[in-house]
Symmetry: D2
Subunit: 338 residues, 4 copies
């Protein structure tokens, strides 16, 4: 249930209103816009007399029931777009950012070289896996702590903020200097991890699970936001279907839907969605046109020798050429960023 307050109500008035509601056993989430403050009630609001509250609290302009189970991430509650700040980079409506780098960090030399190249081409954030979730216990599991150290070196050398994946909440202390914590598809419903990163203040890049609905995706963002962290970037990365020619099926409709339903930035990972190098460029162009706020692209100076995901990785020249094209398109769409 959501109450939109009148303009120019004082913080004191808001506090009084909120205290009254919380005394009834509800928690609240407050969203302060440029014109209106919105108070969102969380909990089972079935018993609340909405009209009574509107009539007996003069600071309330109007109220409405939010039937969707996600509250804090709901655009109804927070009509303005959330912009996520990472260093001097902004992710969200009006911007188009490109996160690039290798699937796995393999060595200091590797990540630094790739970081320099993608920065040169115009990427605005650096990705690289240090902890790698792998289907097989016998596959390369990533350089782990050392991988994060190498990423920080690459950040120092290029100025690019870094994005890297966490696998469980005990690793959080290692992510202190990481700019954006990634939650991978397999952990989208690792609720304890979501709560934990919700209690940190760091931007979180949340990937949609392989087989999760858009509503479940938003509910996982809700887990993070309900703990106080609204710096969330949603990432559509393909869903599992019966089609076998691509690794996954990019659900491009999810982008406009997520942007209609929520106020959070939405990006696309065309590399994992398709699993095929030759599809990365067309899907990136489609991402821009459909309204995504960015893409995340795997690059390597030698994809055929990459320790993981070589088949979907662009080499540095292919990436540079794609970036040239994307810059023209971002200009056409009137988007800042790259």
């Amino acid at each position: 249930m959501v109450f939109v307050l009148k303009q120019n109500v004082s913080p004191e008035q808001i506090n009084l209103f909120v205290e009254k509601i919380e005394a009834e056993g509800y928690s609240t989430f407050i969203s302060t816009g440029t014109e209106h403050t919105v108070v969102c009630l969380i909990g089972n609001t079935a018993k609340i007399d909405l009209d009574f509250i509107v009539q007996t609290n003069e600071i309330v302009e109007y109220g409405k029931r939010v039937t969707e189970p996600y509250k804090a991430v709901n655009r109804t509650v927070h009509p303005e777009d959330t912009l996520v700040k990472v260093g001097n980079i902004t992710l969200g409506e009006g911007f188009f950012q490109v996160i690039s780098g290798p699937c796995s960090v393999e060595s200091e030399e590797q990540i630094v070289q790739i970081a320099k190249a993608v920065k040169e081409s115009g990427a605005t954030l650096l990705r690289g896996g240090a902890f790698k979730p792998r289907t097989s216990p016998y596959a390369f599991q990533g350089l782990q702590e050392t991988g994060i150290k190498f990423l920080l070196t690459a950040k120092q050398e290029t100025g690019l903020p870094i994005v890297t994946e966490i696998m469980n909440q005990t690793q959080l202390p290692l992510f202190e200097d990481v700019d954006v914590i990634q939650i991978g598809a397999r952990n989208m419903q690792n609720f304890d991890l979501l709560k934990e990163v919700g209690r940190s203040k760091k931007p979180v890049l949340l990937k949609r699970g392989l087989c999760n609905t858009i509503e479940e995706f938003l509910m996982s963002a809700e887990y993070i936001m309900s703990e106080g962290n609204s710096q969330i970037i949603l990432c559509e990365r393909g869903i599992r279907t019966y089609e076998t020619m691509t690794r996954n099926t990019l659900d491009i409709s999810a982008v406009p839907l997520l942007k209609q339903k929520s106020h959070l930035p939405v990006i696309i990972d065309p590399s994992h969605a398709a699993g095929i190098r030759s599809l990365v460029a067309p899907l990136s162009k489609a991402a821009l046109a459909v309204g995504a706020d960015g893409v995340m692209i795997e690059t390597h100076y030698n994809p055929s020798k990459a320790l993981s995901d070589g088949a979907q990785t662009l080499d540095l020249e292919q990436f540079a050429s794609l970036m040239k094209d994307l810059k023209k398109r971002a200009a056409f769409e009137g988007k800042a960023g790259i």
Copy 2:
């Protein structure tokens, strides 16, 4: 198995070569490009000595095995893009066409009024269902023959070529004046119908089945083409997944894949893919950016009163506004058509 012939071989030489191969029990499919003629062997070619043929037939430049089960529609066999001509409209690489109109033809007045409006906005073909495949036997099944008559009136009044769906091969005589015969998703593997339209010379718009793989889609096109008709337009219209927020899941990756694997035009139907009016515009933009050769959009002057599919139908104003945007984008992409 495919043989690329040398330049400047005479028709007589080609005939001799083909006769020799067919005498071995294979059928052939011949594709004449601007520079090279390609001869494709159809049948189980496992026993053929490829090198022997290349060495003993001096008109052959080189040969290679085509492992994909689709032969005639395969780009390897026919490297140049097929352009489908419908009146003075061209569908295929380099063009972007917009097919528009109501889900169902409801009356002469309705289809003529909508046809005029979509033409005014820049649509280049008119769609409208006369025979409607409906899940329920109690639902409106279309105006049938009368619907086709009304479509032809609308064509006469506007000059727009018409696209309408056939449901079984006994209806073919009714489609004599129809410009493009549509095979719907549920009939994608109605093999007898495919063969029958393959024997006609009319352009065919073949929709991907709800749950068919890209390879099966190409094999259905192969059914049509193996009967001699290569005027085929492939249409991606969403596949069935576990996601329930959209009617289907648009498999946008299918577009670049189909264009890589085959030489046929590929369009997108964003209306059926999403089933939600507000997604039609973003998905149409994505279609253009990803490389599709057109879109097929449902329109109606009063979507809320449409006899079918109202929720996904644009009204005429929304369509006009989308067309303005798509024209700018087609210009940006360097595409003719709209």
Copy 3:
């Protein structure tokens, strides 16, 4: 909308009631049970005042709205199980029948030999494909008319009723002596074909489409039954999912659901569902235990040389051994038939 009539109303009274309703523009479907007659209204019943009808027609015990879109096949309308009679074989509740035979009829000798063997083992119906729907136009398309002729010879030699697939409605005259017409998965929503077999009086074995919901499956049965033919056997044969280790995923829950929702017999095709020989026996046992009324099993005297579907076909010895086991299980369940 359904009206349950009082006991002991006369046929004349029923006719009067039905005429009155049909005069309002509704069609009706009448189901005569041992105790009650049920009259089902078909069409948009939203405007009907249910209470008014009950109060003003004294032969009506009570009425209720049937919200499911399927009416005639709905168990609410027809609470008693439909039994389908094929010669002296009964399909439906209380019976367990085994339909067996090769995927394709290959020769007279082949089908006769297999028919004799499966009869010897206890199969009660013979299957064999004459018209074969194949993904590829270059694959074996069946012996067609000749195949049906060979099936009829096998029937003559063994007395087993025959089940074979139709591919389009123009083939109906060829099926005059066939006992059960099979509609394949790809034709489950070939609505014109459904209507046509609905107008015949022959038993129809309707297979669930690869990607169709249970409700759509029932709606396709409704197409047949709404034309007057209630001799329908539903066949669950696996649905398409992301799993690749099996050919399809047998949706075993569909059996009890279909039997709860409708009054029609339900069988399982474990051969196509799994696509793996070693799963046919365990899935057949599960079919019996879950409440299916039969199974349809592919057999061949030499599966490795079968012209189609060899990997999922049992040899005659494996089939004989499975039949021995199934007979014990049918006895345990108290089912007649095999």
Copy 4:
């Protein structure tokens, strides 16, 4: 790669052989059967000369490449069925066990009362959720530590071993007295958690992920077993498909496949698979017939007031009646247990 050793080789000979292989950089997994010992090489074995090893090590009977990526859980490596012992209960081939109890532990009184009832009816293990993974952060998250305490009371009162779900590895100390640790569907690929329970010696009940393949399921079991714990029970609980009439689609074919591919016990959870009370009995019967080693069934004395999953929960009377039937069926199949 797998080496089957000759009969009657001494432990010293085996050690020497293993040391030699490990010196080449491979890890090994040793499986001691009643007749043969099998040594399994783990790692990339592409470079190994298999014949050379067989010829130069006289204790080796024969070797073969195991192409499946799962090694330790592979039946080729360990041909005998693994039996998991929980107290005096045995799970695995030859037995059929029934795990029963409420979705969530709600109070001491509730879990004790249900435990007594299901024991009375013949259940052999008690289930109950203390930590509940819930899609919404606002839904009941379980009684947590207190829930485990209440489960232990119920165990004390009834003697039934208890099964309950862990959500992350920091909770392991709380599970010291729990008999079987359950890994839920959403955590099937929480690899760090899998490794951690692999290092414990407790039996693990591993549920298949909502959208995971059978191969991925086995690879997750491999994660546990590669850390030294082979006390693993695999649980098929339905996969996500497009069908909406059931909560999930029970993939019953997974049972015989998992038992062919691996040596681990396999059970079915019909409650979560179907999500519908009326399907629990038919699916449980099918489970027994298809060869499953048990079922896990949700029960409650008042399902309509259960704090979670009421719609799929049997009341105690329904459960008692199902158990009577399952006991007869287990006897028919020649299975011990219930």
